[in-house]
Symmetry: C2
Subunit: 258 residues, 2 copies
């Protein structure tokens, strides 16, 4: 009999989000699941770590094939905590993060706590994958992600990404039958604009809420992840943790002649 896989599940929407429940359900078919996820929503946390204040780790559930912990830190903290405190004898076979409530395509990848956790897993040399659905609704329907996610993970287990690379998989918020296909793609160019809403507090001082609109910087590029997503494709982008621009290194190195 095959050895059961050991799986670490995390996210950035918090341990009680519907998306991580869906991901846990999906992953239990692949092996024994350990969930370590933030107590609270940690969207936009990127690969941030908690330095200067202590962390807590609380067991919420322990049953055959499933243990669930909440951690007071960021998504990347959750992965570090799991690796150092729970997976001390044997590393997980895979780390999956999500299913995020909201797209992590284009520039969202830079800010995403979901992908910050996947990056952290990659630092540990563990195959790591982030799943996101392009709907911010707390009640979003994750059934298509679960269905196709299993197909994608079977491909992944057979032929994983190389070390140093994690996958960022984004699903359109449409029913399974309306999904046009699954496509490898690249991180599209975009940025947020009009980012703050300014208000005045009861004492007469200004404060700012981060809001913003997404501005598509390459609307014509059909291979960009956010454009594929918009056209109801599932997008898969391999991201590097070594973010050196090697061609720019060569170019500047010869130009500057230091």
């Amino acid at each position: 009999m095959e050895r059961k896989r050991k799986i670490l599940v995390t996210n950035d929407d918090g341990v009680k989000a519907k998306g991580i429940g869906a991901l846990t359900e999906m992953m239990r078919e692949f092996g024994d699941v350990t969930v370590v996820a933030p107590f609270e929503a940690m969207s936009g946390m990127s690969a941030a770590l908690t330095i200067g204040k202590p962390l807590r780790l609380t067991e919420l559930k322990s049953e055959e094939g499933l243990r669930v912990y909440a951690c007071s830190g960021t998504p990347a903290d959750c992965v570090k905590m799991a690796m150092n405190q729970l997976f001390t004898d044997e590393a997980p076979d895979i780390i999956v993060s999500g299913i995020n409530h909201g797209s992590n395509a284009s520039i969202a990848a830079l800010y995403s706590g979901t992908l910050g956790a996947a990056a952290e897993g990659t630092v540990y040399g563990i195959p790591s994958v982030g799943f996101s659905l392009a709907s911010h609704s707390p009640k979003a329907d994750f059934s298509a992600v679960i269905e196709l996610g299993k197909v994608i993970l079977n491909k992944y287990f057979a032929q994983p990404a190389k070390p140093g690379v994690f996958l960022n998989i984004n699903f359109p918020a449409v029913a399974l039958e309306d999904i046009k296909g699954i496509a490898f793609s690249h991180q599209g160019k975009g940025q947020w604009i009009k980012e703050f809403e300014e208000r005045t507090d009861p004492y007469g001082f200004n404060y700012y809420w981060m809001t913003g609109e997404f501005f598509n910087l390459e609307p014509e590029d059909e291979s960009a992840d956010h454009n594929l997503l918009e056209k109801s494709y599932v997008s898969i982008v391999p991201h590097r943790i070594d973010t050196t621009d090697y061609s720019e290194l060569e170019r500047l190195s010869s130009l500057w002649n230091l």
Copy 2:
């Protein structure tokens, strides 16, 4: 007469850190400086954004050629706040972040708030540079960084990095005369190990401090930034904000045959 440059200065150690004072001094020779930096230390914040709670922006100083603001958010928030609220008529010519108290070479680049701010500047299409000194001391001596930093910035203004790329410049914590040279390099492989110190609170519950030791995963590679730094070189790494691994995209795309 040449138009005066407009310069945005930020950091992750907080507006009162010695390092940002040194960077402000250095940058005033290049133009008019606006400082927007976190109220508090924000080390390890990566490109994190503040979502779900409001931000404050407080003017601390305004004189000829220098205005200083503190922001309640992360380093990336500071850049967004500056771009949206202060540089509304004309974008800055350059965004510089630091001088960080501590190295941001190797895997530290992933977690660095200093570089999170530089990444954010790059998203806005502004030439962006992070400066760090390999000393965590609050009283670190930044004089060599200021001296060589000006040499490097003159090169940079003459021949900047291409759009989508920021520079991560790390200085060894040695006197100017002991610096061996300035070298372009790549982000070295490394990770933190033994990351938590477990303690018990007065009520009998465990908590964890993030600590850790740096583990060098490529001690032999003389072109890796952390190894150059160790040998008293100043290291310059160009980092991308598009972190797609294009060769892995091609490889997986043909292997998986979706």
